[in-house]
Symmetry: C2
Subunit: 290 residues, 2 copies
């Protein structure tokens, strides 16, 4: 049984879009998969990797027969996309996405689509510091969480189809309010990225404050490497994510700064007990992460 689509259109064939294409093809979940993008070279690469069957550079050429359209472009582009071709979708079609930010975007997408077309927000949590279809893998989502973000308007059958799709990809599918989603992801993903970006800049600044002819980065150990790994993420992608979730993220950065200030105060006061308390709590919290 399971879910089966006739024609899936993936708008944006990068790491996530391409990996989804590989899942759809290899699990036999779609009759055909059409990739849409702007860079022909990239789309040809996707065909070569069997992530898509064929491609179009204009979504409107691909859309009329689609029963599923997946937006795998930056969330900032959703509205213009849906305005462009939302009304041309066939009745009963599902529009979903793979974006890292949801919130008000889901409601906006619902408003831009005809009543007979169903939007279902989805977010497979499968980031990598790498991007591009060349890194796509059908196993990218295996064992990872995928959050679906239904609203009161969401069609139950469309929701079920999207859940089945991500379960077929090996993901653990969880449902969450779109606004809660953004707070959660802001906390566990967007803020850590900002922390890592900031740490690299701080090191650069601390290098400039040094007189000795020593390259700080020559002395990094495993701790620094781990702590800053995600600082090498795609700048364009993270510009888009940060801006889309900026209201939460600004509050979160403020919260982070408060805790750094607290630590600094304890150091300045040489408060041994306070420092051990802070570090012990940090250790306990960290040990709860699996």
């Amino acid at each position: 049984m399971g879910v089966q689509f006739r024609q899936v259109v993936i708008v944006g064939v990068g790491l996530i879009g391409g990996s989804l294409g590989l899942v759809l093809k290899q699990k036999g979940l779609a009759g055909s998969v059409v990739g849409v993008g702007r860079r022909i070279e990239n789309l040809e690469k996707a065909v070569e990797l069997h992530a898509i069957d064929r491609y179009e550079t204009d979504v409107r050429n691909a859309i009329h027969d689609a029963d599923l359209v997946v937006l795998a472009t930056p969330v900032q582009t959703y509205a213009s996309h849906l305005r462009d071709w939302g009304q041309t979708l066939q009745s009963g079609a599902i529009v979903s996405d793979v974006g890292s930010v949801k919130g008000g975007l889901v409601e906006e997408a619902e408003k831009l689509l005809p009543a007979a077309v169903h939007f279902v927000g989805a977010h497979p949590i499968a980031g990598r510091e790498k991007s591009g279809v060349a890194y796509a893998s059908p196993n990218l989502f295996d064992g990872a969480r995928c959050l679906v973000t239904p609203t009161k308007q969401t069609d139950p059958q469309a929701l079920e189809a999207i859940c089945q799709l991500w379960e077929a990809a090996g993901s653990i599918v969880l449902s969450m309010d779109p606004f809660v989603h953004d707070w959660v992801l802001g906390s566990v993903s967007h803020l850590p990225h900002v922390a890592a970006f900031g740490l690299m800049h701080a090191l650069d600044d601390l290098q400039a404050q040094m007189e000795a002819p020593v390259d700080l980065l020559d002395f990094s150990g495993g701790g620094l490497r781990d702590t800053t790994r995600i600082a090498a993420s795609s700048p364009e992608m993270w510009r888009d994510i940060s801006l889309a979730n900026r209201q939460n993220l600004v509050r979160m950065i403020e919260t982070y700064i408060q805790h750094l200030e607290k630590f600094k105060d304890l150091l300045e006061k040489e408060d041994e007990v306070g420092l051990v308390e802070v570090m012990t709590k940090a250790k306990e919290l960290r040990e709860r992460l699996k």
Copy 2:
């Protein structure tokens, strides 16, 4: 040829002290290795693991025949140790350490020792989030950097002996001024620890700011796990390190906060170009880490 000690005393037989003992024994660098500590159970464990030949709970009982004493206790204890037994060392003996902070401590140690006893500061950069002799390994230092921190007073032969010891352990030995050492380590190790401690606390705070009954830590991905791995380090050890290097660390936390504030400003202004610039530079810096 190579360095050879008659009797080595390791004061503090934990992860680092125990691993050094294993190196000394397995490479045949010491006639005998005496461990000194307070917890009998731990010392017996160290004997069982062949990290030391025997143990004493009072350093003074072990010290008279030693040609090398290695301080592997918190740097805050050095002065009281050296006052206690520094004058009873035999002429020509070397005192070294494995501490993560140097700076003024090296000069202080030199002042507390008789002229015929040589202090050589050393710092094998081989941290782990685990601590205790149970995790000791003779390979802990293999391929890792070891910084030696000579001063104008340092005896060249004693320095050479300590360099040979760490080279025998497989380390890449580099020489650095004690104060430069503290700025370097503050930047690449101590500040990242503070960043990770702070991030765990921020998450805890962001959890408290949520109304939805969702456990944030259930949604952590690889990014958060990496970024906060070192938050699980030993609180007691990091209290000591942070306090010993607090003057540098306070300045470094301030620098870090400035960069976080800058990022927050860019977000608030929705400065797309500025955000991409910051992230691109962070990515370039990160990619320089090997």
